[in-house]
């Protein structure tokens, strides 16, 4: 028996890391037609729906306005001879990670014409399995995968939704739920409650909700919704110049910079984009043995941040001799991508590259970490730093967890779904439909928003009705 999928799904099928190529996979009954909406062959004549199975085609992916997103190679594999045993299109993108994401965005954005939704974690594998492409012995592995990925996505979807966003969505939801409850209570008990006099007011609220959700979608597209990027941590002794480096990268004064050692007591995180590479950059309190309680907390946190980092930037004050604290920092660097910056090259330097390298217990590791001469004050060495980052990124030495991207896109598509539902509410109000029609769409918006903060509907509505509205009898 073959498992027939109802819908077509798409996702990035490669890890969001290495340079160059990333693959966007579309699978399901409408995969080829969906790809045709965004694919354009060099002469504009080739239709993917007309090409033979298992062929590869050069072309471009264009958005709805015809703008070229990326140059691509597209392979078409028809059911059942594909990974999922469904019609599958794989788009090989060349323009780096951002392009891969934009291609996926473009495919999903066409879903008003041909419905394609973002794949759930592990969904390609699940389909492959259900269609008998993965053998029985792997069944349990697949289940583990779904469970693990889901757990991760769920944890992230809550933890990554920053405080203010969480609040915004919770507020929106409670406003929507109140209106649904009011409508439903009045439909259930029309002799006690009447809603029709509130419709105009609801129309205004819906307009406002749509504006707020649109704003969230726009900011989400800037990558601010969930922390997505290379988690970069700046480490170094107090007053080595960590905050100055951060400010240099940000191009503005953000962290408090003084000459007094230990001024940065908290952990600051900023998102910056350096020529297409997104860094989530964290400035930490200087690491050194300390008895000051406040500072101690900062130091602990810094160590914690460093341990979860995708990239460490160690900034060393080359005008002061190395000590015990430097060896400690050195141990943080082991086993992860890092760049060492010898700061204050404008002053008399007492620390050389070789001094640093000799600190490493593992000599090979000590040799492989790049060291740069640098002056935050005179802004020398900064271009080299950016060049080095790019090089590491495109060589695949830097990567970040792709689940973050998936979560972020999930948020976006849920926001879009709630926006669409609310637009339908508006249409119904405008065409003078009664409230029992649009409460269904309100509920859909409520449900979609709940998905972002990991909440199911359960008994919410009944609870709201009974607690807010006094039902008759």
């Amino acid at each position: 028996m073959s498992y027939v999928s109802e819908d077509t799904i798409a996702a990035v099928a490669t890890a969001m890391s290495p340079a160059g190529i990333g693959i966007v996979r579309i699978s399901g009954p409408d995969a080829v037609r969906a790809a045709d909406l965004v694919y354009r062959s060099p002469k504009g004549k080739t239709k993917l729906s007309e090409v033979p199975s298992h062929t590869i085609h050069y072309g471009t992916i264009n958005d709805q306005d015809g703008q070229v997103i990326d140059e691509v190679l597209v392979s078409v594999m028809r059911a059942p001879r594909s990974y999922t045993a469904e019609d599958t299109v794989e788009i090989n993108c060349h323009g780096g990670v951002l392009a891969v994401r934009r291609v996926l965005d473009t495919v999903i954005a066409c879903s008003d014409r041909i419905p394609v939704r973002l794949a759930e974690p592990g969904e390609f594998t699940k389909r492959a399995f259900l269609n008998g492409r993965v053998d029985l012995s792997r069944a349990e592995a697949v289940m583990d995968l779904i469970e693990a990925k889901n757990d991760y996505a769920l944890k992230n979807s809550v933890s990554q939704v920053r405080g203010s966003l969480y609040e915004k969505i919770t507020t929106l939801r409670s406003q929507i739920l109140y209106q649904i409850a009011h409508i439903e209570a009045s439909l259930d008990d029309p002799e006690h409650l009447d809603y029709s006099s509130h419709i105009e007011e609801l129309g205004e609220s819906v307009g406002e909700w749509i504006r707020q959700i649109r704003h969230l979608i726009d900011t989400a597209e800037d990558g601010r919704l969930a922390s997505e990027g290379i988690r970069t941590v700046i480490v170094g002794k107090p007053n080595a110049g960590k905050s100055s480096l951060l400010n240099l990268m940000l191009g503005e004064e953000r962290a408090i910079v003084t000459d007094i050692a230990g001024t940065t007591r908290d952990v600051l995180t900023e998102t910056i984009n350096l020529q297409g590479i997104t860094l989530l950059i964290t400035d930490t309190a200087g690491i050194r043995q300390t008895d000051d309680r406040v500072e101690k907390i900062g130091v602990e946190r810094a160590k914690e941040s460093a341990s979860g980092a995708d990239l460490l930037l160690w900034i060393v004050d080359s005008s002061a001799p190395l000590d015990e604290n430097d060896s400690q920092i050195c141990s943080l660097l082991e086993g992860r991508p890092a760049i060492i910056l010898l700061n204050k090259s404008d002053l008399d330097t007492v620390v050389e590259e070789s001094n640093i390298r000799s600190l490493f217990e593992n000599k090979e590791e000590g040799r492989s970490i790049p060291v740069l001469s640098f002056s935050a004050k005179q802004k020398t060495g900064f271009d080299e730093l950016v060049g080095m980052l790019k090089d590491m990124f495109f060589r695949g030495k830097l990567s970040w967890n792709d689940e973050v991207v998936i979560t972020n896109m999930r948020h976006c598509s849920l926001l879009q779904r709630s926006e669409e539902s609310l637009k339908r509410v508006k249409e119904s109000i405008d065409s003078r439909m009664s409230e029992d029609f649009f409460s269904i769409d309100l509920m859909d918006a409520y449900e979609a928003l709940g998905g972002i903060i990991g909440e199911e509907i359960g008994d919410d509505l009944a609870d709201e009705i009974f607690s807010r509205f006094c039902m008759g009898k």
Binding site: Y3, D188, S439, K473
Partner: protein, 625 residues
């Protein structure tokens, strides 16, 4: 010991029991219905209504399946209204005031006349099973053993019932009847898990002591629409009785607030879980403290009695508080109480123990329906009784079970909610519980369910043929108006202007015009000279199907998706402990509910989409899906 042999035993003759017994007997099974008192058959011990929002839908569905409630109320109502008429057709709902005594006696007489059915006034005390947990019979209080193939428990609020107000706490059933005190223990011995629920009812007043001049009179609709599709509309155009509206005030609330400590509800004497949608007046005053006033409807209970029902003021306060608080209400200043308001506690079951057929998972041949299943309301009870009765009969007759899913009827929603979700208060039908409600309208109940009733054998051939004709007329007329072109000529424009609509710029179809908010099928008849002469209900159906086509199509698409998950069945013998990667919470919940399909599994609280995926992969891996 006396031994008797029947096919089906029905325990309880309330709204659930009557439907269950009638269904079985009508299908030719020898049936006995037990009641604590023949005088309380189909009694309405609480409010005097049949129908109301979403409940009216249930009554229509009962009718489409061949049940009795709709026909009975059509012949015994005092007043009738179609609620929510200004809203969409999906939430239009019939609600009638019943002549309680007439309703009860007509239903009793219907049972008496029914072939294959005997009525017995006796308490059932035990269920009897064999070593394989098959039901073999029931035992009465006198020790008589009734052998049977199936028993249907419809004990309503009678099991270990206690009626409470103030310090009065007595072991009586609803409306002063005798409680049933033995059956609970027998059920527990058979491993059935019991709950204790609570509900309440307001006082009844002596009509001649009420001053109606201080209240607002409310009359019924003219013309009246009958509940049953088989009732001749002409027969329900009778003289109706009015209902009166009045209000509580600050004085009422003050008396209640000052005496809260004397309420058994707040003192903790009442332990059962009460329904939040049906709060007592003291509960309303506490929970909605900012409301200065609550509506009170004073409603007749029958043509041959002046007893009036004080709707909106149920209570379990002591007698002196009740008298004082009722007398603060305009029109009730000198009113005399006939029956005190009271709260009632009773035993019922956790319905997760039931199969989708309402047969107990643990005991084959034992079924249950109605308030015993943890619901509330006459209509919910009747619908369940009919459903359980049909399914018991189908099993005995070796025929295909009756199945109604959430997209086919409110009954489907009711059944699925009861057996899937844990209910901590009496379950009441609500229109918001039906996710496909645009399809589940009261007007199309026959179109949705009559076929099923016919297949079960409760709908006559004659009615079925009439129905097929109606269905065809609807289909043909929809086709016709979709193709009918309306030119933009002067006559058309004049007609549209007259109807308050905008002019046509180019020609259009009749269907397009019907979709305009200010127009409908009937008002457009002047533009449609060749329109066939069709019955009212056919015209109504055509109008709705065309006017709301966009919404209907959208819901139908959702239903398609929903059905695909319902069709994926989970084997009955699945051992959830063997499913790896299932979260513990989900495993426990699934073991408890034992859903019959992937769709049902996804509705179990505490089971998330990933759990469902895991389950699907597991079943598929063993070629069991």
């Amino acid at each position: 010991m006396i031994e008797e042999h029947v096919d089906v035993v029905v325990v309880g003759a309330g709204h659930a029991g009557c439907e269950a017994a009638l269904a079985c007997a009508r299908l030719g099974l020898e049936t006995v219905i037990f009641t604590m008192s023949v005088e309380s058959i189909a009694m309405m011990p609480c409010n005097p209504h049949i129908g109301g929002s979403s409940k009216g839908h249930l009554v229509r569905e009962i009718d489409a399946l061949g049940g009795e409630m709709a026909k009975c109320i059509d012949r015994t109502f005092l007043q009738s209204k179609m609620l929510n008429q200004s809203k969409g057709p999906a939430v239009h709902s019939l609600r009638a005031q019943a002549d309680k005594a007439a309703y009860s006696s007509l239903m009793r007489h219907t049972l008496e006349k029914q072939e294959h059915l005997q009525i017995r006034q006796q308490e059932v005390t035990q269920i009897v099973t064999d070593e394989n947990n098959n039901l073999t019979g029931i035992m009465t209080i006198s020790g008589t053993l009734w052998h049977c193939s199936a028993a249907i428990l419809c004990t309503g609020t009678y099991l270990n019932a206690r009626c409470i107000y103030g310090d009065v706490n007595v072991a009586t059933g609803p409306n002063g009847t005798q409680a049933a005190t033995f059956l609970t223990d027998s059920l527990k011995e058979h491993g059935i898990e019991m709950y204790r629920f609570k509900t309440g009812t307001p006082a009844r007043m002596d009509g001649k002591t009420i001053d109606y001049s201080k209240m607002t009179r409310q009359d019924g609709d003219i013309p009246v629409v009958p509940f049953s599709f088989e009732t001749d509309p002409a027969s329900v155009q009778i003289e109706q009785m009015p209902v009166y509206l009045t209000h509580t005030n600050e004085e009422t609330h003050k008396i209640l607030r000052e005496n809260l400590d004397r309420s058994p509800l707040f003192s903790g004497q009442i332990k059962g879980t009460g329904p939040r949608y049906c709060p007592s007046i003291e509960d309303k005053v506490v929970r909605f403290a900012d409301k200065p006033s609550h509506q009170v409807f004073v409603e007749p209970q029958g043509r041959d009695t002046n007893e009036m029902y004080i709707d909106g003021m149920s209570s379990s306060m002591p007698e002196d508080v009740q008298i004082r608080m009722y007398r603060t209400v305009p029109g009730l200043e000198n009113a005399r109480i006939v029956k005190m308001a009271y709260a009632i506690e009773y035993d019922c079951i956790n319905a997760l123990q039931l199969e989708p057929t309402f047969e107990f998972k643990k005991i084959h041949g034992l079924y249950s329906g109605g308030q015993f299943n943890g619901s509330s309301g006459y209509e919910e009870a009747a619908a369940q009784g009919l459903y359980a009765g049909i399914n018991a009969a189908m099993k005995i007759l070796g025929r295909e079970r009756l199945f109604i899913d959430r997209s086919e009827g409110y009954i489907g929603v009711l059944v699925d909610d009861l057996i899937t979700k844990e209910n901590h208060e009496p379950y009441r039908m609500m229109t918001s519980r039906a996710e496909y409600r645009l399809l589940l309208r009261q007007d199309n109940a026959e179109l949705r369910l009559l076929e099923k009733g016919y297949r079960c054998g409760l709908v006559s051939e004659e009615r079925y043929q009439r129905f097929l004709k109606k269905k065809q007329q609807i289909r043909e007329e929809i086709e016709r108006v979709k193709l009918l072109r309306i030119g933009a000529g002067a006559a058309t424009q004049q007609c549209l202007t007259q109807l308050g609509s905008t002019r046509l710029s180019t020609s259009s179809t009749m269907a397009e015009l019907i979709r305009r908010p200010e127009l409908d099928y009937r008002s457009l008849s002047p533009l449609d000279p060749d329109r066939p002469d069709l019955p009212f209900d056919v015209q109504e159906e055509v109008n709705i199907e065309i006017k709301y086509e966009g919404y209907i199509i959208r819901q139908e698409k959702q239903v398609e998706q929903f059905r695909r998950m319902e069709e994926k069945k989970i084997p009955e013998d699945l051992d959830y402990d063997q499913v790896p990667s299932l979260r513990n919470e989900a495993r426990q919940k699934l073991k408890n509910v034992r859903p019959s399909s992937i769709g049902q599994a996804s509705r179990v609280m505490g089971v998330n989409p990933a759990d469902v995926s895991v389950l699907m992969v597991y079943l598929k891996g063993r070629n069991r899906l």
